[in-house]
Point group: C2
Chain length 186, copies 2
DNA sequence: CCGAGGCATTAACCCGGGTTAAGAAACGGA
DNA sequence: TCCGTTTCTTAACCCGGGTTAATGCCTCGG
């Protein structure tokens, strides 16, 4: 953990007592919609997803995050609002939670912490930018093809109806896409 | 400009000679696809869009930015890659260009500049997150309704075929949506 | 070992967006 | 102002995803 962000000794000592380590069983919720949640999660083990319900009550999956990834209601933390999303463990998982407000306070006088928050923001931006690119350029079928080629390791760990929810389509449509691709490659 | 980012005197003196002020006529390109572009633009006047061509050669509009907005191939700058997008003036426009690399260098020793880059990244993240939300939750028709209610001032300035390209649909489909909404509200 | 619940597949039908094409309207330059 | 170009609208047809529903499979607990 410490070495992952290249945290110097001094900063490590100041943040260490504020870290929270949590374990989640499959299906457990780390964050519930509506909660004022102020921490950023670093995934040590397992796989989680962040999702919310649309107006019609359909689950919309925003992201999957596994080992080494960050998960949190980041946009809402920045806006100072309660979480719009739920964060749920797809597998048994372990997460280290970093207190955003404390780091934000320290960042006012520390180039290191300010730099870490900058890196965080840039990383999250790039992830969303990539997603925008896919929504704008790729059909559901092309998005799925990209997913299975670039994320094949994760694919096996995520049930199909959640992938459908990530792509913004129904499980039925994803099943049709799969059979279309299968007959195409024959 | 200076007061917009609340730039202190000392920092203002160091950045001032590096700023570039450009004017663009309607239709002019500020950035071309493939160019290694390393500046972040602050729009003083006018309206620009950023877009790129998909595999089929169709224009895909990523964003519109008007007075007070930031425009740049930000993701590519962060990744150190040439621009994937074109940036074009929809109206006659004026832009101040901030040199990213110089600011990035200064940020290594300056809390102010590091903080500015952090704020930049967070702002851009929030914009993309909002767009993800719309793609994931809203039909083309609902996206358009949101656009005309929340961005009504801009709507009049942007030709319809560009709005269609922003929404990820064809001009024909947008025209149909408009007539559907018109008959609905009767 | 059995039954229940959750997940995936398939089919039938509907609807909205893509495509193409034609005509109308708005715009811009000479 | 006039003409040509660009933009917008409308129509016809196709296709892919939504919806609903039936079926089959797998897993897990009793």
């Amino acid at each position: 953990m410490k070495h992952l962000f290249a945290i110097p000794d001094r900063e490590w000592d100041s943040i260490r007592p504020l870290l929270r380590h949590e374990s989640y069983a499959k299906g457990d919720f780390a964050v519930r919609e509506g909660a004022l949640f102020r921490s950023v999660g670093y995934v040590l083990r397992g796989l989680l997803r962040s999702y919310h319900l649309d107006d019609a009550g359909v689950e919309r999956t925003k992201a999957f995050r596994s080992e080494g990834g960050m998960i949190s209601p980041y946009a809402e933390i920045l806006r100072g609002e309660p979480s719009r999303s739920n964060i749920q463990a797809i597998e048994s998982s372990e997460v280290i939670w970093l207190p955003f407000d404390a780091i934000n306070e320290m960042s006012k006088e520390s180039l290191f912490w300010m730099g870490l928050l900058r890196a965080q923001a840039e990383k999250n931006f790039l992830l969303k930018e990539q997603r925008e690119y896919e929504f704008l350029n790729l059909s559901a079928e092309a998005q799925y093809e990209r997913f299975i080629t670039e994320d094949s390791a994760r694919l096996a760990r995520i049930p199909q109806f959640l992938i459908a929810s990530y792509l913004g389509i129904t499980p039925v449509a994803l099943s049709r896409i799969k059979s279309r691709l299968a007959s195409k490659s024959k």
